[in-house]
């Protein structure tokens, strides 16, 4: 039995494959944060005055705020003055107009990641807005999208070309002072993605952005804003990998989703940032604020995430169910291995009448990792007929890891129907032996059992990404057994 659990522990330990550094000159600001740095960021991006003002307001709020410490994670204090707040590939000034003009070294990087842009875009029919460090370097399928009237571009381009939309919606879901990291992001965000789907339009393809952190010691502050106007539909996938680093890298993104009347947004994330080595050294700190606003009646926002990377994950994709009959969903697989720490979950805020939310959280812990689900279901007094179903399942691999569940409920309407189910299980020696007796290797058996455990969440991912997510999960847990 002892050998069984030792074997279990070692299956999780395959080296991070995507650890390499692309040698491209970076145009990087010196470390440190003050108003001059913010002015410099804004100036480099040729931003209009309103953006600079918005950033500065956020920065002043941030100065008065404190780093949150309630999450079930531990890390040494972050020196925000040791971080450089802007890094862009040198060629930013004359940005490529098509893939052919993209720096071949960048393309090579994508090849190493197994995501050759053009091929991927062609085969999968996916428009890819590739974010390399902070600035978008390639956007494809733009024409097809613009035919449908869909705007899909980098955040910088949106500020330049659609300032009225940015002005109207930026910060309308996650205000600058929402939390410490959101305020920081609001002050210094470098780039990200912007999507606007006009009334009645069903976005003709899955929109996808690959993020990649590349420059050493550069904080990543992405800003994503997706607006689905009345009766529209959009599905968006965010996927990430990062090269191996010794120092911790801070990532504090903000994602805002707005769904108007009868609109639906499906937001899927496959996250595979560098989790640190077997001793827990290095790895990304991922402090993200993601929130969707079901602003109109009958709107729907669905978050699906597969989190396998990062040293620390602090992330609660949430839904504000403002419109009557609006629907919020959260499907999550979070894997924590070695010394990874994950504190993730969701918030469902029921405001409109007959609003409903579904939460399915699958936490997998291996090695010495700590995995926490933290979720809030809040039903406001006016939210008559609100319903929630929460299901939290934890799977433990080995004896030294932990799973924690922190469900919070604030129910202010007596008629609300709230259900919560939670389970914790282990991959049992019986299950492993059973599979091996049928000829499967121990590793294949673990993968199969874990994938079975995550099935309800994978079912929510777009088909091709579900396959990727499954493969990623297998890589993440390789070495956990055998």
């Amino acid at each position: 039995m002892a050998t069984e659990s030792e074997e279990l522990e070692s299956l999780v330990n395959r080296r991070y494959e995507h650890g390499f550094v692309t040698d491209i000159e970076m145009d990087t600001l010196p470390p440190g944060l003050n108003e001059d740095v913010i002015r410099a960021i804004s100036a480099r991006k040729n931003e209009p005055e309103f953006m600079l003002e918005w950033r500065l307001r956020a920065f002043r709020m941030w100065l008065e705020m404190r780093e949150p410490n309630w999450a079930h994670v531990h890390y040494p204090p972050i020196d925000f003055d040791a971080i450089s707040y802007f890094a862009a590939p040198k060629s930013d000034a004359d940005r490529p107009k098509s893939l052919d003009e993209v720096d071949p070294k960048l393309l090579e990087t994508y090849d190493k990641l197994g995501i050759p842009l053009h091929e991927r875009a062609r085969l999968a029919g996916v428009a890819v807005d590739a974010v390399f460090d902070s600035v978008s370097v390639a956007t494809t399928f733009k024409e097809k999208l613009s035919e449908a009237g869909v705007i899909f571009c980098s955040f910088s381009e949106a500020v330049e070309n659609h300032p009225e939309l940015v002005k109207k919606y930026l910060g309308s879901v996650v205000p600058q002072r929402d939390n410490y990291y959101a305020a920081l992001n609001s002050a210094v965000f470098s780039d990200g993605s912007f999507v606007y789907v006009p009334k009645g339009v069903r976005c003709p393809m899955e929109l996808s952005t690959y993020f990649r952190i590349n420059s050493a010691n550069t904080g990543q502050f992405e800003r994503t804003l997706i607006i689905a106007d009345e009766g529209s539909y959009v599905s968006y996938l965010e996927g990430c990998t990062a090269p191996m680093r010794d120092e911790n890298q801070l990532h504090a993104a903000v994602v805002e989703l707005v769904a108007m009347k009868d609109a639906e947004i499906k937001y899927s994330t496959v996250q595979n940032w560098y989790p640190g080595d077997e001793e827990g050294k290095g790895g990304i700190y991922n402090f993200v604020t993601k929130r969707g606003d079901c602003r109109g009646a009958n709107s729907k926002i669905s978050w699906t995430q597969v989190e396998t990377g990062s040293a620390i994950t602090w992330k609660y994709p949430s839904c504000i169910l403002r419109g009557d009959n609006s629907v919020g969903e959260f499907y999550s697989v979070a894997v924590a291995n070695n010394f990874q720490q994950a504190d993730t979950g969701t918030k469902m805020i029921h405001i409109g009448k007959n609003t409903s939310s579904t939460i399915v959280s699958k936490g997998i812990s291996a090695g010495k990792a700590q995995n926490a689900y933290r979720g809030l279901v809040k039903v406001m007094p006016q939210a008559a007929g609100a319903r929630n179903h929460t299901q939290c399942d934890s799977l433990l691999i080995g004896k030294e890891c932990g799973a924690h569940t922190f469900p919070y409920m604030e129910i202010k309407n007596q008629g609300a129907k709230i259900e919560h189910e939670a389970t914790t299980s282990k991959i049992s020696a019986d299950q492993l032996f059973y599979c091996r007796q049928r000829g499967l290797s121990e590793e294949d058996a673990v993968n199969m059992i874990v994938n079975g455990f995550c099935k309800e969440v994978f079912n929510e991912l777009p088909m091709e990404f579900a396959v990727e997510a499954q493969a990623l999960l297998n890589v993440s847990l390789e070495g956990a057994v055998g």
């Binding site: 049992s428 000829g439 994938n451």
Partner: protein
């Protein structure tokens, strides 16, 4: 086929099997009977390679190949099949997926290409018809929410798909009503073949009314205390096990 010589095995320092020897010829059906705690299930698990047990002495070979040197999955791919007494549930993994993975693991071992989906489904449906199983079985989670009878039938389906050289069926009759017992026995009989050896591990003689064994062995106190033909099973039914225990101790 299967040769067990002077096998001793223990768990947590306690010896369960003592100096046990058994030979099962190709194409034969042997029944191993015995009271509770006599070591029947241990024997089955040791042959299949469960690592909770320490083999302290003896050898187990299959057609001359040393099984004790192999991992459980290697033994399986070599054609050793264990029908479990308590088949475990694997939530979310569908039956077809496990079956296909098992078939492919064996094919890869033999240097064959993976079975394609259509061929697999055709084969599975054929075997399920043989066992009188509903095709919905394929899409259910492995043993998830199965009744006792369904679980045992599922074991026989796996056996039918894998076509093992040696099948050990551990208490396949336990917890079955008479209809389920008949169905399972029918499946096992259909799989009898001159190339396949079958070892039935059972507490009761009742299974042997439906599957006629060539040889019957009585296991008591970790060794085989008596062997005979099927009439031995009938004798046990009448006299119980105590007289044999006494004989063994005396």
């Amino acid at each position: 086929m299967l040769d067990i010589k002077n096998l001793s095995a223990s768990v947590g320092g306690a010896e369960i099997l003592h100096d046990l020897s058994l030979s099962v010829g190709t194409g034969e059906v042997h029944a191993i009977m015995g009271p509770n705690g006599s070591g029947k299930s241990t024997l089955a698990q040791v042959i299949a390679g469960r690592d909770d047990y320490d083999v302290t002495a003896g050898s187990v070979t299959l057609d001359g190949e040393d099984l004790l040197e192999l991992d459980p999955e290697e033994r399986a791919r070599e054609g050793v099949f264990l029908g479990f007494q308590y088949p475990v549930e694997i939530p979310g993994v569908n039956n077809a997926y496990l079956l296909k993975a098992a078939v492919n693991a064996q094919r890869a071992h033999r240097g064959l290409d993976e079975i394609d989906v259509f061929e697999f489904l055709k084969l599975a449906k054929e075997k399920m018809a043989l066992l009188g199983m509903d095709q919905k079985f394929l899409n259910r989670g492995v043993n998830e929410g199965f009744s006792g009878g369904e679980k045992k039938r599922n074991e026989i389906l796996q056996m039918a798909m894998l076509e093992p050289r040696l099948a050990i069926l551990d208490e396949t009759d336990s917890g079955l009503d008479i209809d389920a017992l008949k169905a399972v026995a029918h499946g096992v009989n259909a799989l009898r073949s001159p190339e396949r050896s079958i070892v039935l591990v059972t507490h009761y003689q009742r299974l042997l009314d439906y599957i006629q064994p060539d040889h019957v062995h009585v296991l008591s106190g970790g060794k085989i205390v008596r062997s005979g033909d099927k009439t031995l099973a009938t004798e046990l039914e009448e006299r119980g096990y105590d007289w044999l225990k006494e004989a063994a101790n005396g």
